[in-house]
Assembly symmetry: C2
Homo-oligomer: 395 residues x 2
């Protein structure tokens, strides 16, 4: 086990109708003038934003609105948010939505306390020194941003999707009401579930040995996802399954599943280029990339993939042919993803074979922060992406 620091200070406020506590929670966490950051559709249509406004009004907290955050959120709206914060003296960011709203709010929180361009911190490793506090109402179980210190946004110019990580942008509190996710379409639900499983797997697939406690947590979270996700695909209003997935989604990314181990994150890195270029859903991109990546790298630690196959998917271990068991586990994972409606090929994401060199080139700028399991060369990435082309998947 490697040395580590674990710090997850976000207060999780979990359960039905908890969004009504918005005003009192913001007050308790020191907010007195709020910018509410939210998306385009459902948060408004469902009346959630109205409920939030009411809660803030009842608590006597003035607020400004920044709606219209898009999936794969772009920098232009963030600049707008920063301007509002600076002009109006906003002291608290309140994200209502999924990863895009939360990551945008975090970016605004950083930019509002900085004289230069907030983009200076993205993809550069420049440490954040100050940020406004952020609170969250989560409306989709997916990104795990509600209790993480990371934010991923896309610069419109060049379609660069980059991230920043800092304890200072870990949300002060996150309201998790599983009811809010019961109206999500199956495709979005499945994309979110894939993202959650990928967050666990980016940690689980590691060369660090003797991390049994962490292994068992990762496997436990994966087992719960394998059990619960099909329930909500079959019955979107299954509150209990929604609740289990939502809680697993937070634990998948608040750090607890990955402490003490070298992590990989190359699948995320590759996917960020896909969704940066094609604007596809992040989870769908991961469903295409991750099994392909697994097949490319599993021989570097066959016993780990055998464990994954037997413990998570209940495969029977073939002691004579461990590679076979390992491959069976990867096949089970892919089959699970397609069973919940996820794509298998790059083309389904809008991808084209001729873009592969461009994707690989853009990846090269990522400062090698990823690849704790296997460092990938440009040739590796080319091979992984090529293996996701329809002609190779279906062959």
């Amino acid at each position: 086990m490697n040395d580590f620091n674990f710090f997850s200070p976000t207060e999780i406020v979990f359960g039905k109708k908890r969004e009504h506590e918005s005003g009192s929670l913001i007050k308790r966490h020191g907010g007195s003038k709020v910018l509410i950051v939210y998306g385009k559709g459902s948060a408004v249509k469902s009346g959630l934003i109205d409920r939030v406004k009411l809660s803030l009004e009842q608590a006597g907290i003035p607020y400004f609105l920044l709606g219209g955050v898009e999936p794969n959120p772009k920098d232009d709206l963030i600049y707008k948010g920063i301007d509002i914060c600076k002009a109006e003296g906003v002291d608290f960011l309140y994200a209502v939505g999924g990863g895009s709203a939360i990551d945008s709010a975090k970016a605004v929180a950083i930019g509002a306390c900085y004289d230069g361009d907030f983009w200076d911190f993205y993809g550069t490793g420049k440490p954040v020194e100050k940020a406004l506090p952020v609170g969250v109402i989560l409306t989709i179980a997916a990104a795990g941003s509600e209790a993480s210190g990371s934010s991923v946004v896309t610069k419109k110019e060049g379609l660069l999707k980059r991230d920043v990580s800092s304890n200072l942008i870990k949300p002060k509190f996150a309201i998790l009401n599983p009811q809010l996710t019961c109206t999500l379409p199956a495709y979005q639900t499945a994309c979110g579930a894939t993202d959650i499983m990928a967050h666990i797997l980016e940690r689980y697939i590691s060369n660090t040995s003797d991390v049994q406690t962490s292994d068992r947590i990762c496997e436990g979270l994966l087992l719960s996802m394998v059990e619960e996700v099909p329930k909500v695909i079959a019955n979107p209003e299954d509150y209990q399954a929604r609740a289990n997935i939502m809680w697993a989604g937070t634990l998948a990314h608040n750090g607890i599943a990955g402490e003490g181990r070298a992590q990989d994150w190359n699948s995320h890195r590759i996917e960020h280029e896909l969704s940066g270029l094609y604007d596809c859903a992040h989870g769908a991109g991961l469903a295409v990339v991750m099994p392909a990546w697994m097949k490319h790298v599993y021989k570097r630690n066959v016993p780990l993939f055998v464990r994954f196959a037997t413990r998570v998917f209940g495969c029977t271990e073939d002691k004579e042919h461990p590679n076979k068991t390992a491959e069976e586990g990867i096949a089970c994972f892919r089959k699970f993803l397609t069973s919940i409606g996820m794509p298998e090929t790059m083309e389904e994401l809008g991808g084209r074979e001729e873009d592969i060199p461009l994707l690989v080139e853009k990846l090269g700028l990522n400062h090698g922060k990823t690849g704790g399991f296997v460092a990938l060369s440009e040739a590796d990435i080319t091979e992984i992406l090529t293996s996701t082309l329809e002609k190779n998947v279906r062959k």
Copy 2:
């Protein structure tokens, strides 16, 4: 799943030699004058206290010492600590040791900010309104107090062992260096391991349904304990196994394993009376009480105990006779405990049959805060304790 709030703000600083960071961590968490609270023996003999003093001196932080905390810590030393804090303007408590040192430091932290008697908060439910910040260097994996909001201490007069719970006494940081536990005798190690497993089981054994994510976390932590504890009993200096147990011990009690479910805690409640009266080790007391309690209550939720038997101890499910599988799981748990050197009978703890009425009577004062799985009557408790007598265990 029940609604819940989860809040675990303690920064975990995990790994070799991390105690050298004491000074800088205390500074970062706002401490400028410190009371170091520690036990009687090993922390001094091992040179740990000297290393801590050095780290504080190098950081220019003045400190006072409060040594001599005993297992099942008593109120007299706590009053002494409170006096020092008030007289000297101490603003940070630093516990170096196990649950006893940490729980004493938490009690001092409460008392130092209160005009009345700190005991007012213990066992009464009176909410804590203010407390000094607490930091921890953990020297035994056991109590989980390093990241919990609870403190258990014993009032010498009447030997009342009572607890308090508050977010305000959750430690600011906890240094977990598994090396510090490598010199622990096997008996203490096993007592600590039993306490950890009991913390998980008090949460796991619940009537709340549809808590799969939490179930899987509990089972994962238990599986890791079953795998790792025998390793350190066989080889006390197995750093990796020590590390896995230490991390499991924190996660067993920082809240994460029990969110969303009704919890029980009657085994702890019964044990507190045993260690309050006989001054036995808490873990040893739990090893006697918990399997006896399980046998008494398992019929209230046989499928849960079947799951425990099959998932944690790998028992084969007997679908025709689920009670048999459930009992087999309890027998495996008891066998595991004796295999690591834990007692089975009340007499081994110093207990006597004729004290049972007194134990039951003292328990009656506990305001019914426990028993989320099964509420126990006085007759139940009498029966459970009676079943732990040698004549009944060995029959």
